[in-house]
């Protein structure tokens, strides 16, 4: 750690640092916060020119219910007591290294919070009318957009498809990447390295070209493959499994590269000492490397996950509507013949897509930093 005392000595520097930190946080979070606000409003408010109308949602307030000052105070109170509860109780998982620790903080607590909040706001609404101004809703809020996305448009199907594709991509690319990265780090073969560099350059080829190359093959795969596979020949177009391989192929060079750098930072002596103890290469890998590789694997895995989860070009062209993942599904909301309602629904869908990413980062944040620190990205 280089939190040098020196850095904190100068008040000006301290001021600048804190100022920049605040500025950066605003810059980083503002667009996302803004679309989140929009997604809870009716279209006429969401696309209003006046920012106050977007935030308070006057028209949303008129036709739907909203939050009153009392509700907001209630939310703050519930949040506060939840935190106090957390600090006092030791029964919750408290080991920061454990997944369960982050899972409780990332998933369980927000759910408890929302549940408690809505339950209590039921009562405040009942008494709200009697206490005048405090109980009067001032913040327009509607879940209509989310409802029509998830229920009306059956967005959960796309969510499941995203889940299938990302799970597949992450597991395949890590499986291949760990073995190939380990081999490259230990064997030092020039041929393999040249291949890796070529593959990296290939990464810069426009993806659209690749996809167009795959498209005719995917559509006609049944005809093309039937001489080899007979009746079992599949139509690859629209199959999530086929997409998994395309996405893995595109990103594999990067995955191998990261894991290679990571393994290079694990001293060779470790596996050599294991070999001296009479282990085979595979056993050495299994007993010595696997226990220490997790931070690097998690970090690399997160990058694969982001690629698969966020991809648009490949998924939009090679999947049909039934198997579409979330990103191409919402982009189709934006196309030529849409209405403002469609667009706000798309915004709600966009926020729904981002939400799992939030939780993911919340859960794995520590591992990402420690994984990178341990050298997964040494040039």
């Amino acid at each position: 750690m280089i939190t040098t005392d020196n850095l904190r000595n100068s008040p000006l520097l301290k001021f600048l640092t804190v100022g920049f930190a605040i500025f950066w946080c605003l810059l980083a979070s503002f667009p996302i916060a803004w679309i989140t606000i929009m997604s809870f409003k009716l279209p006429v408010d969401a696309f209003s020119v006046n920012p106050l109308e977007v935030i308070f949602g006057y028209r949303t307030l008129e036709s739907e219910k909203g939050f009153s000052l009392l509700d907001i105070a209630l939310a703050v109170a519930v949040l506060y007591f939840l935190f106090r509860f957390l600090q006092k109780r030791k029964s919750l998982p408290n080991d920061k290294g454990k997944l369960s620790f982050w899972l409780t903080r990332g998933v369980v607590l927000p759910v408890i919070f929302l549940g408690l909040f809505f339950y209590l706001s039921f009562f405040t609404n009942a008494i709200g009318a009697k206490i005048g101004f405090l109980g009067k809703p001032i913040l327009g809020f509607t879940l209509e957009n989310y409802e029509s996305v998830w229920v009306g448009r059956e967005f959960y199907r796309n969510f499941i498809n995203s889940l299938i594709v990302t799970t597949g991509v992450v597991s395949v690319s890590l499986g291949v990447g760990v073995l190939a990265g380990y081999a490259l780090a230990r064997v030092k073969s020039k041929v393999a390295f040249v291949l890796l560099i070529i593959a990296l350059i290939f990464r810069s080829l426009p993806h659209s070209v690749l996809v167009t190359g795959y498209l005719p093959f995917f559509i006609n795969s049944r005809e093309i493959l039937s001489p080899f596979l007979g009746e079992a020949a599949p139509t690859l177009y629209g199959q999530p499994l086929a997409i998994i391989f395309v996405l893995v192929a595109i990103n594999q060079p990067f995955t191998i590269w990261m894991l290679k750098s990571f393994f290079e930072n694990i001293p060779t002596e470790l596996d050599e000492s294991a070999k001296v103890d009479g282990c085979s290469s595979f056993k050495a890998f299994y007993h010595v490397i696997i226990p220490v590789m997790w931070p690097g694997v998690i970090t690399t895995g997160l990058f694969s996950f982001l690629l698969a989860y966020n991809d648009y070009l490949v998924t939009s062209l090679l999947l049909d509507a039934q198997n579409q993942t979330m990103v191409p599904a919402i982009v189709s909301y934006f196309n030529r013949e849409t209405t403002s309602t469609d667009q706000v629904e798309a915004v709600a869908a966009a926020v729904s897509i981002i939400a799992p990413l939030f939780i993911l980062v919340l859960v794995f944040q520590k591992q990402i930093v420690s994984g990178l620190t341990q050298g997964a990205v040494k040039g």
């Binding site: 009716l42 279209p43 006429v44 696309f47 209003s48 020119v49 036709s63 498209l215 005719p216 559509i219 006609n220 049944r222 005809e223 139509t235 177009y237 629209g238 939009s316 062209l317 049909d320 509507a321 039934q322 189709s332 934006f334 196309n335 030529r336 013949e337 849409t338 209405t339 403002s340 309602t341 667009q343």
Partner: protein
């Protein structure tokens, strides 16, 4: 509480009774459809899905894969939604089947107007037409004492008045987004001037006085538009209209009903609709008529094709049309035009031309979309832009074998 329960029960019962009465034909065959994704298609495919095992894929970019998808054997989709221009490659490459026998067998409810014929063979069943119509703010026009514009010079005069009065951000809106939209505007106005895209030898000919006039008019109109017009598509213009930012625009007829949707619009009841103005005095309205319909893929079994065709007819049954008469201008029997259709009907009565769809025109449309912005941004002169359009057309045409 109990009351609510009965209400739900009752509405369910209604719903099921309604559903079962709606289908004249039900099918157990597994079918897939591909079409564009505007509201009409949602209505139609939903209606079809109620009567059979249909997996409908609505994709605004369906053109980018429809040719490949139908070339596969068996075809990936049995039923495909097409428009006046996207049917061209399917016919040319022999990917869809003639429907004469099916029409003879099941199509007694179809009106002759709906049958798209190529060389006497029915290739597609159309069910809606779409064109642009002129929408304007009645309140502003009344206040400034402006009459409904009959021609584009009226529009320019009105725009100038509105600009001077400074009542609204921009007098005029236009779907001038680079690409397909911008090209469509050019086509509308150029045809309005009486222009022809190809000469007798079949070569491109837009570099003429009519072409120049078209570009000039477009540029004049843009002076009254939001300066970001080159990124405005229909949705954006519609949104601006709804948010009280523009006073008039020439928009697709299917956009009209949303002007009066209180959830989206601040100008409910203030918008008037008339036929698209002409560019020359007492000329034809400067718009083209488009149709949408469905076709059946060639590479499918006969029984699948038959099921798909019959299911397609269920999607455009009169009951569906009656319920959704505001969504589009239907060609189906039993459709009673509402207020929405009047302006378009008026345009048609004044003989607005059909979109001149052909293989060559599709190349031309794409090339136009890429080049016109060069003139509007001032990068190139009108002459140079038109010359480039012809040059690019020749290159693209040569590549696609024309």
């Amino acid at each position: 509480m109990l009351n609510k329960f009965y209400l739900v029960l009752f509405s369910f019962a209604m719903l099921f009774g309604f559903l079962s009465s709606q289908c004249k034909y039900t099918s157990q065959v597994d079918l897939k459809s591909l079409s564009a994704s505007f509201p009409v298609w949602k209505v139609v495919t939903d209606a079809m899905a109620k009567c059979g095992n249909l997996q409908a894929e609505l994709d605004q970019e369906y053109r980018s894969k429809v040719v490949e998808a139908l070339s596969a054997n068996p075809s990936l989709y049995q039923l495909v939604g097409v428009s006046a221009s996207s049917i061209t490659p399917l016919i040319d490459q022999n990917l869809i089947r003639p429907l004469d026998d099916l029409v003879a067998k099941y199509g007694k409810d179809l009106s002759p107007n709906q049958l798209i014929k190529v060389d006497g063979k029915v290739m597609a069943i159309a069910f809606i037409v779409n064109a642009q119509k002129f929408m304007y703010r009645k309140d502003i026009f009344e206040r400034l004492n402006i009459k409904e514009p009959k021609s584009y010079s009226d529009v320019l005069k009105a725009a100038e008045k509105i600009k001077k009065a400074n009542l609204i951000d921009y007098p005029l809106g236009g779907t001038y987004k680079t690409g397909w939209n911008l090209a469509q505007e050019f086509v509308n106005i150029y045809l309005g001037f009486g222009g022809k895209f190809f000469n007798g030898k079949g070569d491109a000919s837009v570099n003429n006085s009519r072409g120049t006039k078209t570009l000039r008019l477009m540029k004049n109109l843009t002076k009254y538009m939001d300066p970001e017009y080159l990124t405005s598509d229909s949705t954006y213009v519609q949104k601006q209209f709804q948010q009280d930012k523009i006073a008039m625009a020439n928009l697709w007829a299917t956009r009209a009903s949303s002007m009066n949707d209180a959830k989206e619009s601040r100008v409910v009841g203030k918008v008037g609709f008339v036929a698209t103005p002409s560019v020359v005095r007492r000329g034809k309205p400067a718009t083209t008529i488009w149709w949408d319909g469905f076709v059946i893929a060639k590479n499918t079994t006969d029984s699948e094709a038959e099921a798909a065709f019959r299911l397609g007819l269920e999607g455009i049954a009169s009951e569906v049309v009656e319920e959704n008469s505001d969504v589009a201008i239907w060609l189906v029997k039993g459709y009673k035009p509402g207020q929405l259709a009047d302006a378009v009907v008026a345009a048609a009565e004044l003989n607005a031309p059909n979109y001149p769809s052909s293989l060559k025109m599709s190349v031309m449309h794409t090339v136009l979309g890429k080049n016109i912005s060069n003139y509007l941004t001032g990068k190139k002169s009108a002459k140079a832009t038109l010359a480039d359009i012809e040059k690019d057309y020749r290159l693209a045409a040569r590549e696609s074998g024309i």
